[in-house]
């Protein structure tokens, strides 16, 4: 049996899959931010009880964790020492020299301290050039003295990031050997191993970030393994990577920087799975939570992998699922600008404490959730009767905002929702139209606590149908983990013009990377049948600053022929992405090999007990505000809507972990997988 565990800010969600019984069980326990492993183990105990199994029956635990992300965002990582090339001690301090726009953007800029202090940085006498040739020999005596000084100063981890080490790692390795001999207990990361790519600041900060979270991750993973063992769990533990792949707990301790977007990865992975299963090849993942909304594009059941992301103000160049995040969620606060009298929503958030006004925990400023309460979209009682909402309080707070701009409470509430939708629309536009994709060819998967409240409205704006609300949107991330593949990337930077390039230079490097990938697959115990390897080249027009990943077939890699087809593909992809092609020479930047180990899909059989008679599913009829007027709106119990049911909008569909709003002129149907599909009535049927 496999168990998916997703630790969120408020709740830890678990999903257990019994392959033989074709059953799943879900559980939810409060997260324990002071030590996430406590909540995880509580959840494991709870779900074993629910499923009536012994902890020893679990074979595999797949865990998405925000331990690394939180350490960086909260500035609570380890004390990291940093060795750089002499003359470049201030690489992290100067960063990219960037200040925000527009003019005078620096007036309000805030910049956190670098992840490795200048006091813990040493310049090593040595230098490579861009071709990997030694320009200045490594001064071993001087380096040893500097290492002794730094490593005995109380640092917890050490990063070595030298100029052009992606082209020649010899000096970095020599330094590591010196450290290993003299300070065997200090963990060391080499930039040439964590990120063998050019651009010194990106490489250094990514490697430092790895060390910054490494001791914390190591302690966390050993704690969780101990606690699980104490409770009779014998399962292997795997950690979800930012790119949605899996890595062993041991690998995660070594390279925790690969987990900085572990959390949102689950939602995207499960959207990929929904896409494959439901037969909608193009989907947008729309994960709306309390403080932010994450969106991603799925095409042919696959998400794009991005080569870089940001954690707070710091860039991290690691493969991540291409997720775009905006500061608008259910907890985003609405207020009116003093100077212009315009209504604004977010990025300030009420968070979990005090939370929206309607939660009755002391919040006074109206949040997006409060607007949903005012309009009758959120019922007065949530979470299966456990949580009562303060409807009057929400209405008063929203009315107060409305008064300042001369709107009724209803219109102000509608306005707050519309503006939040517009902000989220900006994010969806960035990942679709801005990349040459037409959103009208996509469906939209709404999940997260607030996603199904807003999904229909987003679809109406973008024209992307159907809106798909999965059966258990609250545990969708945990479900995604269960279906995640083993995945790792192997990269080599090699910057050369393709004009006059001997293709053998490319193929021989691919062969080296492939060998590494094979070794890794073996280490992860992936069987040959489940293993696969793909290849791509990062190409660009000479001197362009951004690369385009061009897939290369295994046949081409093994035939070792000319690069003609790959180059033709590059021009096509560039034109599709950016609308132009040039006749300037094409440049090779890097080779990439991706290794995967496939995982068995989660198979569930659905109880056909619920009927298609929707009348039986009616809870009550309450007023809801649609199209500028209050209307009697039927509230349905989702659990009683059987496969094939059809509900006409406007309506509200309620369930334990979320609420779905069905707008007028739309209908919802339950498909064979238990998903709610929302379509506009004009589409027929």
């Amino acid at each position: 049996m496999r168990l998916g565990v997703d630790v969120g800010g408020t709740f830890t969600d678990l999903l257990l899959h019994d392959e033989k019984g074709r059953r799943t069980f879900q559980a939810k326990t409060p997260s324990t931010p002071e030590d996430q492993s406590i909540g995880v183990v509580e959840g494991v105990k709870l779900i074993c009880e629910k499923a009536g199994i012994s902890p020893a029956d679990i074979d595999l635990i797949l865990h998405g964790t925000t331990v690394a992300t939180n350490a960086v965002l909260e500035g609570k990582g380890s004390r990291v020492g940093l060795l750089v090339t002499e003359g470049f001690e201030y690489t992290l301090h100067l960063a990219k020299a960037w200040t925000p726009g527009p003019l005078f953007g620096w007036i309000n800029m805030e910049k956190p301290d670098p992840l490795a202090s200048l006091a813990d940085t040493r310049g090593i006498p040595e230098r490579m050039n861009a071709r990997g040739e030694v320009v200045r020999e490594l001064d071993v005596a001087a380096a040893t003295a500097l290492i002794d000084d730094l490593c005995s100063s109380g640092i917890e981890a050490l990063t070595i990031s030298l100029m052009h080490s992606y082209a020649n790692a010899a000096h970095e390795r020599q330094l590591r050997d010196i450290v290993a001999q003299r300070f065997p207990d200090i963990p060391v990361s080499l930039s040439s191993e964590i990120l063998p790519e050019f651009r010194e600041y990106d490489r250094a900060i990514t490697t430092v970030m790895n060390d910054y979270v490494r001791p914390i991750m190591k302690r966390y993973l050993s704690r969780i393994e101990d606690r699980l063992a104490d409770n009779g769990v014998t399962a292997r533990l795997h950690i979800v990577r930012s790119d949605g792949g899996l890595m062993s707990a041991a690998a995660a301790s070594e390279r925790p920087v690969h987990t900085v977007l572990s959390g949102p990865a689950g939602g995207v992975t499960s959207t990929m799975m929904l896409s494959r299963r439901s037969g909608f090849p193009k989907l947008l993942a729309f994960d709306m939570g309390g403080t932010s909304t994450d969106v991603a594009v799925i095409i042919d059941g696959e998400a794009t992998i991005s080569r870089s992301t940001e954690v707070g103000m710091f860039p991290a160049k690691v493969p991540t699922l291409d997720v775009r995040s905006v500061g608008a969620g259910g907890g985003s606060i609405a207020d009116v600008s003093e100077l212009t009298g315009s209504l604004r929503v977010g990025p300030r958030s009420a968070g979990a404490r005090p939370g929206p006004v309607s939660y009755g925990r002391g919040g006074t400023e109206p949040a997006v959730s409060d607007a949903n309460v005012v309009l009758g979209y959120l019922p007065p009682v949530l979470l299966g009767g456990e949580m009562k909402l303060d409807v009057e309080g929400a209405r008063k707070a929203v009315a107060n905002v409305g008064q300042q701009i001369g709107l009724s409470p209803e219109d102000a509430a509608k306005g707050i929702i519309d503006i939040a939708n517009e902000v989220m629309l900006g994010a969806l536009r960035v990942i679709t139209v801005q990349r040459g994709l037409d959103p009208r060819e996509f469906g939209l998967v709404a999940f997260g606590g607030a996603g199904p409240l807003h999904g229909n409205a987003m679809a109406e704006l973008l024209g992307c149908y159907p809106v798909l609300v999965p059966p258990n949107p609250g545990v969708l991330c945990a479900l995604g983990f269960l279906e995640a593949d083993f995945r790792n990337e192997f990269v080599q930077t090699y910057i050369r013009s393709t004009v006059g390039l001997d293709p053998a230079e490319v193929w021989s490097r691919f062969a080296e990377l492939e060998a590494k990938a094979q070794t890794w697959l073996t280490e992860q115990e992936v069987t040959e049948a489940d293993a696969s390897i793909t290849y791509s080249l990062d190409l660009r027009y000479e001197q362009q600053g951004f690369e385009v990943a061009v897939p290369v077939s295994a046949a081409d890699v093994h035939n070792k022929g000319a690069l003609t087809q790959t180059l033709a593909d590059f021009h096509d992809i560039h034109e599709r992405l950016y609308g132009v092609r040039f006749t300037v020479p094409v440049e090779l930047v890097a080779m990439r090999v991706v290794a995967r180990g496939a995982t068995e899909p989660v198979e569930e059989s659905f109880a056909e007990a619920a009927s298609t008679d929707v009348k039986a599913a009616i809870i009550e009829t309450r007023p809801g505000y649609f199209n500028g007027a209050w209307q009697d709106t039927v509230h349905y119990d989702r659990n009683r809507l059987g496969v094939g049911s059809r509900v006409e909008g406007p309506a509200i569909i309620r369930q334990y972990d979320t609420t779905t709003v069905l707008l007028p002129a739309h209908y919802a149907e339950i498909d064979a997988h238990g998903n709610i599909l929302i379509w506009p009535v004009s589409k027929g049927n």
């Binding site: 003359g87 470049f88 201030y90 301090h93 100067l94 990219k96 020299a97 960037w98 200040t99 726009g101 527009p102 003019l103 005078f104 953007g105 620096w106 007036i107 309000n108 800029m109 805030e110 910049k111 200048l118 006091a119 230098r127 050039n129 861009a130 320009v135 100029m163 052009h164 651009r199 010194e200 990106d202 600008s337 100077l339 212009t340 009298g341 315009s342 209504l343 604004r344 001369g406 709107l407 219109d411 509608k414 306005g415 519309d418 517009e422 900006g426 536009r429 960035v430 801005q434 910057i495 027009y541 001197q543 362009q544 600053g545 951004f546 950016y578 609308g579 132009v580 040039f582 300037v584």
Partner: protein, 597 residues
Amino acid sequence: MTNATDTTTVDPITLDIIENALKNARYEMDGVVVRISLSPVIREQHDEFPMICNERGQMIVGQFGSYIPSVVEKFGGDVNEGDIFVWNDPYASKGSISHNNDWCVMLPIFHEKVLVGFSSIFGHMVDVGGTVPGSMPANARTIWEEGLRVPPVKIYSKGELNQGVLDIMLNNSRTPDMNRADLMALIAGCRTAGTRVKELCDRFGRETYMTACDMLLARTREAMRVVIRKYIPEEPVSFTDYVDDDGLGNGPFKMTLTISRRGDVAVFDWTGTDAQAEGPINFHIHEGLCKLFFGVYMIMSFDPSVLFNEGFYDLFEIVLPEGSLLNPRFPAALSNRLNTHTRFFDCQAGALGKFVPQLSMAAGYGTSPHFIFSGTDKDNKYFQLMELLFGGVPGRPKGDGFDGHAWWPLFSATPIEYIENYYPVLIERYQPIQDSGGPGLHRGGAGIEKVYRLLERGQVSIHDDREVVPPWGINGGLHGGTSSKWVIKNGETEPTRIPSKIDNLKVNPGDRVVFKTAGSGGWGDPLERAAEIVARDVRYGLVSREQAEKSYGVILTEDNEADLAATAKLRDATKKERGEPPAFDFGYTPPERQAAE
């Protein structure tokens, strides 16, 4: 204000949605340009500026604005769907752009055959011809030396490319491939904005969209009116700062700004500014741009979320004396106007900051330092490295200035590993300059030192300023360090000082150029800065022990921890002797000619 007398109004929510959508479109323009362009100046350093205008050419969202009506007028209204305009001549476009390197693209946006707006972007081309690589000769006396001048022309007419114009433009550049790609990037960015505006018209109705644009202008105007009323005193306030020199040995050049208020209207009067320079530091600025710069500064200081647009232009009155540095007569040379451009901002901060604490920023590194290295490599291939450097970002009410960061928005440093992959140089050192950040309660940012070892024979051009006149401190903060440039010949160890504005300096393999930029002024009394923070700056190598004691009154122990008792004693004594700190610390006495005025 020239709003259409339309009786329709748009509900506040739709208005906010359109505002958000236009902001998104404007950032999408940036995204498109940066992805496609080839030159590192646009791509890595973001030297490009987009905007979206209404049908009257008023900027609704963006950073510049105001020049479109004059272009439309020039074509007698012959503006059609599919037309795309391009130009780079500051004189033929009333200072919409301020030197020939900036190529400006503009296109009209039609919705169902009705003109609904314009989109426009200008970006810095690496080379547009002229007497030196990079097209910014430090010793130019006229604009004829600064490369090809293109007046507003249609590069596309009703969708059809005018190949002749394009060929002429590219044929006059040392870097035609790069310019072609960069121009196409600017065009693609403008087209993106066009598509978005059309979609908004489809979604909300054209009338609603156009009315909303007017309302956005009115809304920003009202915000600005409140701010002007509240913060601009009726009594005139003056501030004077100086540009070092014009590259021909003349200088320093005085710039004086006097601000006052008459009712709702703020008056910005540059009378007292020196006559135009013989060299290329003249800044031919469009009056509308002056207004925008003042407005953006106020908005950023008081409420950064207010949309910048042209709505408030009638609330500003600008006086730019003809024949002065800021309103030069044709054909004065313009290419190195950035020194004057930045000093414009310094005067603005000094004058506004005298009375309003929220507006008091110190002076920064004061220009956009350039390093250009060109030549022909072993394979007989022409190379031209152009890099913008940064320095100290000013001490500010919010906190310290940044060391070696960009004063200009969204600019970023080109990675050294990138430069070394493409150009025959090896960077030996890249670090902040100790003690160059002006001491203050909030320390000014430090300048940076970059040492280039040149690996091929070639020539070097340098443009910088604040070598003579340091960046001043404010509210008791002290001035920051000045810039300097040095050459160390191959095999030698002694550096030779070279001017901050120089062209075609011959260099040989192994020669080194040491490029030091200016820091910035401090903000607030340095004697009030926490001693532990001063000690940390010493441990970080950003402040010397000597400066800690002399300027901050902080005594350090041997291992650079603050000695709090000794510090308190020294600070008390220093404060007694000094009294209240002066509002400004210039660290510079102007020559007699200037002082006498």
